[in-house]
Amino acid sequence: MSTPVTVKPMAEPVVVGRGPSLADRLTSFMPVIALLALLTALTIADPDFLTRRSLTAAAFTAAPLIVLAAGATLVVLCGGIDLSIAAMASLSTVFLALWLPDLGAFATPAVIGVAALFGAVQGAAHVLLRIPSFIVTLGGMSIFSAVALVVSDAGTVPVVDDSAISWLNLYVATYIPMSVAVAVIVVVAISLVIKATPLQSWVRATGYSESAARLAGIPVDLVKIGAFCVSGACAGLAAVMLVSRNFSGNPSMADNLLLPAVAAIVVGGTAITGGHGSLWRSLTGALVVTLLRVGLPIVGVPSAWEQILYGAIIVAAVALTLDRSKVLIIK
């Protein structure tokens, strides 16, 4: 239909609202600034920090965190949260350790596939039963942990022959650990797919305003289920990385990664209210969190304090990034 509509313009200010302020702009660069500041501080505290050995160690720690945070970022962008990622990853390490002897190289895709399926089931429960994602995944967290305990007989499952996953411990271009390269590739791939397709609009609209998205005919339910599915798959991949480092699966292996992953997302500047943010931000956030983890012992802070730090930075980062215009009442 060609509609020759002619409407005469009216006299009024072109823009009524205010654009991003200097503070807003600064906040959006905060993760990068924090990353550089941390690097500088750690180098000053311990000039040996900038050696290949300690940087590689940091990179190997960062890889599973990046992948976990990247997947969960999608859920957060849609306005939800996935608290089950760490438990899902722990369960996946057990599955992987159990399946490696039989499936060999196919164990990796199998584990990622199963984790994706579990993620999708959570997403479907969230969407179809209309339960807040926070509750669904809190339940999921408990269930996955328990399943991991049951199938592993509550113990570590050693991996005798790790030839199928040992490639993750190789180096790309002699310096970059393979697992970090894979993590970055995952971030790039997911980001590209989203950016290049209508998914970008769909995810952001769903996160900013679900009702508006629905009334625009966006397949909101599918988008959300998809986000949980990818989040699950990423937890599965993180598990593969963990097993390749630890030569075993354990029902609580990844459990201590939940808080760092959430911290990585919010430190990166992705709004917990949805809509605003990106996987790149979570990648930066994950690096910040990793530097804190490996850096605290260097400056002499006992590792027992680590959890205090995670708690504090999550609260502080959310305080900085929360879109208060959207949450009128904070519950």
Partner: protein
């Protein structure tokens, strides 16, 4: 309209000290001068109307008066005494209170609790509710406005109009605080009321004048002239003048508001003659039932605008949403161009060429932080894609074409839609359904709500253009006048059923009164 209280234009002893006066009020926001030297006088026992287009500074002025906005310059005097209002509580201490546009009652409390909430006084002793005292306090307030609402009724069981009465009763509690006749500000109190409720409100406003001063804000100029003694007009943050209502007609006010004469051809009546050979209707609805409507039959032809009118609770909003698949239906058949229309979800409706513009533009119509371009192409993704991928070039040319065609005033297509004015936002929302080129049926739920006269006129013109191009339109109008002005046919709904249908051709329009008697 029956008038119980004569308009007391000439008062016996005109109070010399104004109840409220502001001088030279200035408020700047980054990039915007919201108030640019506003002077305003509210006399005692006076109903002062405040008129102005959107963005003229009305809201900012009102917020300044109740201490929600701190002005950059200027003075506020209450009964001749200069005051500083830093919070809504301080404003209340000086006897100034406001009934907000969005209602501010707690739905699961009783009317009495709401009325005394925040200023319980003797209603609470040693931290414990004394229901008797509270009910008495609330009753006193309700008596002031001669309302028969049960103070012990839960607020969410009251009608919208009744809740507004409760709000007024609540605001009058400030009398106890300041020991002076209060100044009551009513911010667009009629915008969501139906005509009968509006009459009750007006009776109330005239009653308030007996012991208070009232500032009355409305978009409907006829209402302002009906209920006010005097009208002050704002334009671009400045006071442009004031008039006594006697002898003033809406066009005079309109001229002051926009700085020129308003157009007579407000609704842009169709000049194109439509052939009356009546082909098969584009939309047929047969015995459609849902939660709030039953057995609805409706036909809409291509190129026809059908307005659905009805009071609050008539079920017309839900019917409109149901046709878009956004509200469940229990029975009935709907066809679009002869094919059954899938009402199971919004996605199916979009694919079938149905578009819906919701009443709550800011919450449901648009995604505020996203760009004009992304909002415009949100639904018809195919229009901006090559294969599965988004083509930025395709999107840019498409969006720019529509920005140009609809004269959307925006710095560029990348600007966040929330930074545009209401009228331009609405044009982007409408464009969303047009960019695909496959629109067959448009469902418009209060498409001009909250828009100023200039923007309304543009939306009307756009609707005309679309219907001339064969789009079928179902319109839930903002007022009966709007429905009559725009529609080719009007369907009156009452209690979830279609009460009657009224033809509404250009040149033989029914009057609002003809419709009102069918609505109740």
């Amino acid at each position: 309209m029956s008038i119980d209280f004569d308009k007391q234009v000439e008062r016996t002893a005109p109070a010399r000290v104004p109840a409220l006066e502001v001088r030279g009020l200035v408020k700047h926001y980054p990039g915007v001068k919201a108030l640019d030297g506003v002077d305003l006088v509210v006399h005692q026992h006076e109903v002062l109307g405040l008129a102005g287009e959107n963005g003229a500074g009305k809201s900012t002025l009102l917020k300044t008066l109740v201490g929600l906005v701190k002005p950059d310059h200027g003075e506020i005097y209450v009964r001749g005494e200069r005051v500083r209002l830093r919070s809504i509580v301080e404003a209340a201490d000086h006897g100034i209170g406001m009934v907000f546009q969005e209602q501010s009652l707690v739905p699961n409390l009783t009317a009495a609790e709401n009325i005394v909430l925040g200023s319980e006084g003797p209603g609470v002793r040693r931290g414990i509710y004394r229901w008797d005292a509270m009910r008495r306090l609330a009753q006193e307030q309700l008596d002031k406005i001669a309302s028969h609402i049960d103070p012990l009724a839960r607020t969410d069981t009251l009608s919208f109009a009744d809740r507004q009465m409760v709000e007024i009763a609540k605001v009058l509690r400030i009398e106890q605080r300041s020991q002076h006749p209060p100044v009551v500000i009513l911010d667009e109190p009629t915008s969501v009321l139906e005509s009968k409720e509006i009459e009750t409100l007006f009776t109330q406003v005239r009653r308030l004048r007996e012991f208070a001063s009232v500032v009355f804000v409305s978009h409907r100029l006829d209402e302002i002239l009906d209920v006010c003694d005097r009208v002050a007009v704002l334009r671009n943050g400045e006071s442009v003048g004031e008039v006594q209502v006697a002898g003033t007609v809406p066009a005079d006010l309109h001229r002051m508001m926009i700085g020129s004469t308003g157009s007579d051809d407000h609704y842009h009546d169709n000049v194109v003659e439509r052939s009356d050979e009546a082909p098969a209707p584009r939309l047929t609805v047969r015995r459609l039932s849902g939660r709030t409507f039953r057995d609805v039959d409706l036909d809409v032809h291509a190129g026809e605008i059908v307005a659905v009118v009805g009071v609050h609770g008539s079920g017309r909003e839900d019917l409109c949403r149901a046709l878009f698949g956004a509200e469940p239906t229990t029975a009935g058949e709907v066809t679009l161009d002869g094919k059954p229309l899938d009402l199971s979800g919004t996605r199916a409706a979009c694919a079938a060429g149905v578009g819906y513009v919701p009443a709550e533009r800011k919450v449901e119509g648009m995604v505020g932080p996203m760009s004009v371009a992304d909002n415009m192409t949100l639904t018809k993704q195919k229009a901006r894609c090559s294969g599965p991928l988004v083509s930025p070039r395709k999107q840019a040319s498409l969006v720019d074409r529509w920005i140009d065609r609809l004269s959307i005033r925006t710095p560029n297509r990348g600007t966040a839609i929330q930074r545009l004015s209401g009228g331009n936002q609405q044009k982007v929302v409408l464009a969303r359904w047009l960019v695909g080129g496959d629109i067959r049926l448009l469902l418009l739920d209060h498409p001009t709500r909250g828009l100023d006269i200039g923007a309304r006129s543009e939306v009307y013109r756009l609707m005309r253009e679309l219907s001339n191009n064969g789009v079928a339109t179902v319109l839930l109008a903002d007022s009966l006048e709007e429905a009559i002005g725009l529609a080719d046919r009007i369907v009156v709904m009452s209690d979830g059923r279609v009460a009657t249908e009224v033809a509404c051709p250009a040149g033989a329009k029914p009057t609002p009164l003809d419709l009102v008697k069918e609505m109740v």
